[in-house]
Symmetry: C2
Subunit: 403 residues, 2 copies
C-alpha cells in the first residue's frame, strides 16, 4: 500500500465533502471570495488545534468548545475581518454566523465550526455574512474556491491531497487547504488549515494524530515570530470511504498518520514559501540533537532569526549568523561539535572555520528553496523547520496593511 | 544632591579616564576609526555582563574571565571584525590584542579587557591591530573618538554622562558610550557598552549594580530578536573623585545606582532609536503587571513584535496587534482587564473596543518616539522596554551586509 499525491487535489477530494464560497464584500477588494463553507455529508469525527495566544478571537473560543466534542460536520470561514474585538458581542456574532451556515447546510448548529481571519479589533459585518451565506453553492468541486476564500495576504491558495492506494484501489483519501501568511510562528499563527479524510477514524486516535501532525509541521513553520489570536487547524474524518474503524492499534493507523503528515508537511511548506514578501523557502534541518524538543527548538530559532533570513535574502552563506542563532536558542549547542551545511555544502566543520567556495554557495542560494543543515553532534534526534526570507516587501505589506 | 546631565558628556568625562582611537584598516571604509582604547590612570573596580548566547566570541571568553577578578584598568576594542571564528586561534588573537594594548598603556595585560565587533567567522587581522595600537594617543578628551571607533552599522556614536552635584560641587561623575545597532535583543546583543565612574565603589556592590542596570536597561532593549556572540557591558569605577568607599549600605549608594541607571537608560534609548533602519523609537511601558519578570516579558515581547513594529512604521494605531503580541508573551494577560494607550491616547479600554480619533492618533505617531502603554490591571509591577520600528532599510542593511 502506497501513499500517492493526487494531482490538483484539494480539501474536497475525499468522498462526502463539499464546499463553496462567495464574494460577500467583507474584503475591500470588490468581487474577492471572502466567505466559504466546507461540509461533510454526515457528521464526522473531528479534532482541532488552536492558538496558544492568551488573546483569542471569538471564533476560536466557539470552535474550540465544539471541537472538544470530537464531532463536527462543517466549518464556515470569512476573510477580511478576524472577528476579534475580544468581547461578548464577538462571540455572539460567531455563534450567529455558525448557525446561519448550519441552517444553510442543513444540520445542527453545534456541528458547525467557525473561523474569521483578517483585521483585528473591528466588529464582524454580520449583515454581509447573513446576505452571503444563502448564496453559497456547495459542491464536491468547491475545494479550490473554498481555499481562495480563506486567503488574506496570501499570494496563492494552498491545497493538497494524497490517497492511500492498494493495488490501484483507493483505500482512503486525505485532503487539505491552508492560508497564511504573516503572523506565522510555532504554536500556530494567523494560520487556518482544514484537513479532511474519508477514512473511518476513532475520535480519540484522530485527536492524537492531529496533535502529532501539528507539532511536526504547522508548529515548525515560522514567518515572523508573531502568533495570532485566530490560528486553527481542524481535521475532519467522515468515514465515507468505509472500512473498519481505524484506531491506534490498526494496521492502517500508521498509513493514516503518514498521509496526514504528508498533507500537513506540504501545506506548511506552501505557507512558509508564501510568507509575506518571501522570495525563498528556508528549510532548516537539525540533526543529532540531544532531545526532540531541543532539536525542534534549534531548528525553529534559526528559521526565525532575522539575521539568518536577511542573509538568505542576500544569498549570503553566512554560517556565523546560523551558528549564533542556534546558540541563543536556549537549547544545548557545543560549537566544537557543530557542523553547518548550506545547500548540502559543508561550510563549518566541527567548530572549525573551513575554506569553501563562497561565490559558488551564494550562487546555489539563488534557488527557490534554501536548505540549512545543522549537525549538533550531541544526540540522535532530528527535526525540520520551515521559514522564509525577510524582504522589503514584508515591511511594505505590514506597514500599509490598514491604509 | 542632584544628578545633572553633562552636556556633551562622554565615557572619559569622569576623572582619571582617557581614551583614543585610530583608523587601522580593519573596516573596509578607508580612514574609518576602527581601533579604540579606553583606560583608567589606576586599576579600577570593574564588573561585566556578557552575552547569554552559548556561541561566544573569543574576546567575550577572555574578558569575562578577567572581569571576574573585579579589577580592570582598560579595554581595547576593534570594529569591522568580531574575532568570532570560535576556535583557539581566536582566543590566542584576543589575548595578543589585549597584551599589545596593555603594553602601550603601560600596565599589566591581565587588567586589559578586549572586545571585537563586526563580521563573524573571519580571523582577526592581527597585523593591522599590531600596527594600529602604538599609534593610539590617549587623552581625557578621547571619549568621542573612542565612541566612534566601536561603531559598526550605527549611524551615530552614542555617549552620555551625568554628575552628582552637591551645592554646585561635583561628588562623582558617571559616563558611558555604546554601540548597536542590529542583533540587539534582551540578554544583550551585538551591543558593546562601557560605563566609567570616578566614584570609589566596593567591587561586590559594583557587581550588583551592574546586573541591576543591565536588567532594567540593556536587557529591555530589542531591535531584531537576535542576540550576538559578542555582547559586553563593562563598568569601571576608579575612585579618582575620592571620598569614602561606597558600599550597598552607603547613603551615596542610592545616588550611584540612580546615576548608573540614568546612563544605562539613555544609552539604551539611543541604541534602540538607532536600530538598523529605524525611523521611530518605540517605548513600551507596561504597568500593573503581576510580577516584575512577567511585566518585563510583556514589554519586551510587544517591543519585539514584527507586526507592532511595522504598524509603527506605518503610523497605524493598531491596538489589535499590540494586544495579540502581549497575549503570546507567555505571561498572564487578561483581555477584560487590559487597557492600551498610544501617545497617551486611550485606544482600548478594559477589554472593550472604544471609539477614538484614529486619524488623530496616527498623526501623533509621526513623532520620533512612539509610546505604547499597556495597563495589565492584574498587579503592581511596572516595566519599560525600548525598541524601534521595522523598515525596508533594515532588510537592505542586513541582506547586503557582506557584499
Amino acid at each position: 500500500m502506497d501513499i500517492e499525491v493526487i494531482q490538483g487535489g484539494h480539501v474536497t477530494s475525499p468522498q462526502g465533502f463539499s464546499a463553496g464560497a462567495v464574494a460577500a464584500s467583507i474584503k475591500k477588494r470588490e468581487g474577492a471570495l471572502d466567505l466559504g463553507l466546507l461540509v461533510s455529508d454526515r457528521p464526522a469525527a473531528a479534532s482541532g488545534v488552536f492558538t496558544q495566544n492568551l488573546v483569542r478571537s471569538a471564533p476560536v473560543q466557539v470552535s474550540e468548545k465544539r471541537a472538544q466534542t470530537g464531532k463536527l460536520q462543517g466549518v464556515v470561514v470569512n476573510s477580511g475581518n478576524a472577528n476579534a474585538p475580544f468581547d461578548q458581542k464577538g462571540i455572539d456574532d460567531a455563534e450567529v454566523m455558525a448557525a446561519l451556515a448550519a441552517k444553510h447546510a442543513g444540520f445542527d448548529a453545534q456541528l458547525m465550526a467557525v473561523a474569521s481571519t483578517g483585521v483585528t479589533g473591528v466588529y464582524l459585518p454580520l449583515d454581509k455574512v447573513e446576505a452571503g451565506i444563502p448564496r453559497i453553492t456547495l459542491s464536491p468541486d468547491g475545494g479550490p474556491d473554498f481555499a481562495v476564500s480563506i486567503m488574506t495576504t496570501d499570494t496563492k491558495p494552498k491545497s493538497y491531497a494524497v490517497a492511500l492506494k492498494n493495488d490501484g484501489e483507493t483505500v482512503f483519501t486525505v485532503g487539505g487547504c491552508a492560508k497564511g501568511s504573516g503572523m506565522i510562528h510555532p504554536n500556530m499563527a494567523t494560520m487556518l488549515s482544514y484537513i479532511t479524510t474519508d477514512a473511518n477514524v476513532e475520535p480519540g486516535f484522530l485527536k492524537d494524530l492531529t496533535k502529532q501532525v501539528a507539532d511536526a509541521t504547522y508548529n515548525m513553520m515560522t514567518v515572523d515570530g508573531d502568533t495570532s489570536c485566530s490560528d486553527t487547524l481542524l481535521v475532519f474524518a467522515n468515514g465515507a470511504a468505509g472500512g473498519p474503524l481505524i484506531t491506534s492499534g490498526s494496521p492502517l493507523g500508521y498509513k493514516l498518520r503518514e498521509a496526514l503528515m504528508a498533507v500537513g508537511t506540504e501545506l506548511s511548506r506552501m505557507l512558509a514559501r508564501d510568507g509575506e514578501g518571501a522570495t525563498h523557502l528556508i528549510t532548516v534541518d537539525v540533526v543529532n540533537g540531544p532531545t526532540l524538543a531541543d532539536t525542534r527548538n534549534v531548528a525553529r530559532t534559526v528559521a526565525l532569526s532575522s539575521l539568518v533570513k536577511t542573509a538568505v535574502t542576500g544569498n549570503d552563506p553566512n554560517w556565523g549568523r546560523i551558528l549564533v542563532a542556534a546558540g541563543r536558542s536556549g537549547s544545548p549547542v557545543e560549537v566544537a561539535k557543530t557542523s553547518v551545511r548550506l545547500q548540502d555544502v559543508l561550510i563549518f566543520d566541527h567548530g572549525k572555520v573551513i575554506e569553501f567556495d563562497d561565490a559558488g554557495v551564494s550562487k546555489l542560494m539563488e534557488a527557490d528553496e534554501v536548505r540549512i543543515q545543522i549537525d549538533l553532534g550531541i544526540g540522535t534526534h532530528n527535526a525540520t523547520a520551515w521559514g522564509c526570507d525577510l524582504t522589503t516587501d514584508y515591511v511594505h505589506i505590514n506597514a500599509d496593511y490598514r491604509t
